[in-house]
Symmetry: C2
Subunit: 390 residues, 2 copies
């Protein structure tokens, strides 16, 4: 396989964009990444766009082709991919393959989503389409419901009473909101207090509003290149050293909600490919769609032993400046979660951290970063490991 | 790049499946392909599923993951791709890259769709989502409308009056329906007469019902392998020697509806990669979503000069037994068009033709076959060239 590098990245501000379509948001992020890579749109040889709900939310299919045309690319192969919340990471994994194979030299992976157009009841129904449509969707299961069950199972398995677990979940929420204050592209740039956390509305016990990531519009983009190509484009290349994905089916395919099986398979493949271990990672952007999801992910990714993530969190090890900073961008919780864009936005953060571009939220000396996205009923996981180039 | 081969293929009967879900149809085709490849589901290292409208038609997202679980695969990377009617071909192109790169050895590309669940007015609205949603969808443009314009433009450009062009279009319809009678998996297995053609209901002048492909449910699957892997699995390997894709945006990005730009870019790349010319091709499965589309595609693919496709058709050159048989399977017109499955079903036909498995519709001596799929407002085209192995 040929080596694959990131030449440049781009991202819109995340938030509520009432007057911009998905294609316009894509266009902003794509041009940002193209400019950052010292390229022109016509140089992009293939385009991958992660998008989960655009056909329902905006009534648009063949999104990849329309996206390529939106910024004046030269009729490249253009592909929309969907793996629910993991769609953006899947776009990067596939862009990687086109370069690794030798078929192309310069490929864009992007993601975009415009979810705030959909009122909450419809959004709940729409998200619910990720559940197994024959056996589980009809039970009324929702994503907050799934992750609430994850809380209860974690509490039971590790003998941590729910009120105590809530204290840890509050720490995740406060940490990520604090990180968000340092990210000018985050949807929320306000710290929250313990009181605000506990006073927020109950969503699915024990998950309250501040345990849940928001509904978000936004886009992110990344230009991936062969080694020869990247040398001409940037003096701050970042290498993609590990890419992996894995799947599972409906919730009934899980043995233990606190250990989504697809994550463990995927991340081990990524570490193996990169020749790295969790101890080598300098920072992580992971899928904190709910606060409990961050705790569970830090364990599944091998940053902490199973059942010990809460204690590392309590010691501040996942804060910026801690042993292994998690979600310095603010994560899904504060930066926002425009579904199809999320995996690419995680890459945007890690690449900028490795380049030393992150200002107030910079992780000192960051050379290697890991991303993690989780889609559907724990059904699709993608992991990517980025490493500073030469 | 490593060489890539087809180890096996599978397909459901195409038609109206009232009692089977998309996942069940996928399962049938996938197991058919896995058995044909002398494999077990757990051997599949990655899964690509082309699907265009499943989230709307059946309310299901993360389809790739659910599909992998449906047949008991071992948590592979699982990816849904969408490029409207080209989705299935896009699945094959991407499966190719995973093997060509060396990342995987055995990958499945599949497609499935269940479109007959959607009543015609909703189906029209759903298909319309392929149009540029801001500038064109709102005009009320439909796919029959686009291809009707293609007829008028072809008529005007090549000075063939519409009634004369209709005679050629009737030949396409009769040919493909006749081929369909020889395909036990075709949706329609009845010949049609000239009288039936002309007596059918007008859809979008000059397109009548027998100019239009049907709405179809079905699935098809293909197992792609590295050279080392395929040697252990079959003694009838078929090599994938050319893969290409290209895109364009809304209709406004086309200069000439009779020559969709993405097709010309894509097929030239496929020929170049394969080191072949149109004269080397023994049979073609192409995108006859409407009869005029077949005529235009035979020209865009280089089988006939521009404006001359109708004359080759008239001479019988595209019939089974002719110089270059087109759509021996019955094509979209008679075999049916389950959107996301179509590109893979084209591959199923070509692979079986190259293996000499096609009985009454066998193209004698077929060694090299080309497929062509066209998605959206001529916005996404994929081409694949298959060649008999050793």
């Amino acid at each position: 396989m040929r080596e694959v590098y990131v030449a440049g990245v781009g991202m819109t501000k995340f938030g509520r964009w009432e007057t911009k379509s998905q294609l316009e948001l894509f266009g902003e992020a794509a041009m940002d990444a193209i400019n950052d890579s010292n390229l022109k749109p016509g140089d992009i040889e293939a385009l991958f766009v992660g998008n989960a709900n655009g056909d329902v939310n905006e009534g648009i299919t063949v999104l990849g082709s329309h996206a390529a045309a939106e910024v004046g690319m030269n009729h490249p192969p253009a592909i929309k991919l969907e793996g629910a919340c993991a769609s953006g990471t899947i776009a990067i994994v596939n862009a990687f393959m086109w370069i690794a194979s030798g078929y192309a030299d310069i490929v864009m992976a992007a993601g975009c989503e415009r979810n705030t157009v959909t009122p909450t009841p419809d959004a709940t129904r729409l998200m619910n389409t990720g559940a197994h449509h024959r056996y589980e969707a009809g039970t009324g299961i929702t994503f907050p419901g799934m992750f609430a069950m994850m809380c209860h199972m974690y509490s039971h398995k590790y003998n941590i009473p729910v009120p105590q677990l809530k204290e840890y979940m509050c720490m995740v929420s406060m940490k990520n909101h604090k990180n968000g204050t340092k990210n000018p592209k985050a949807q929320f740039q306000k710290e929250i207090s313990r009181e605000q956390y506990y006073n927020s509305v109950m969503i699915a016990a024990p998950l309250q509003m501040f345990d849940c990531c928001p509904i978000t519009d936004g886009s992110a983009a990344m230009v991936l290149c062969s080694k020869d190509a990247v040398k001409k484009l940037t003096n701050k290349p970042v290498q993609v050293v590990g890419v992996a994905q894995a799947s599972s089916g409906g919730l009934s395919t899980q043995k233990d909600y606190t250990r989504p099986i697809a994550r463990e398979i995927s991340v081990q493949k990524a570490y193996k490919m990169a020749g790295l271990t969790p101890q080598d990672i300098d920072l992580v952007e992971l899928h904190d769609c709910f606060t409990i999801a961050e705790i569970v992910a830090t364990e599944g990714l091998g940053l902490f032993d199973f059942g010990k993530g809460v204690y590392g969190l309590e010691k501040g090890e996942t804060q910026i400046g801690g042993r292994i900073p998690v979600n310095p961008s603010g994560g899904l919780k504060a930066k926002g979660h425009p579904v199809g864009a999320t995996g690419v936005a995680q890459g945007y953060e890690v690449v900028n951290q490795i380049r030393g571009n992150c200002g107030a939220r910079q992780v000192e000396g960051a050379k290697i970063g890991l991303t993690d996205t989780l889609g559907g009923p724990f059904a699709s996981v993608g992991n990517i490991i980025y490493k500073r180039g030469w």
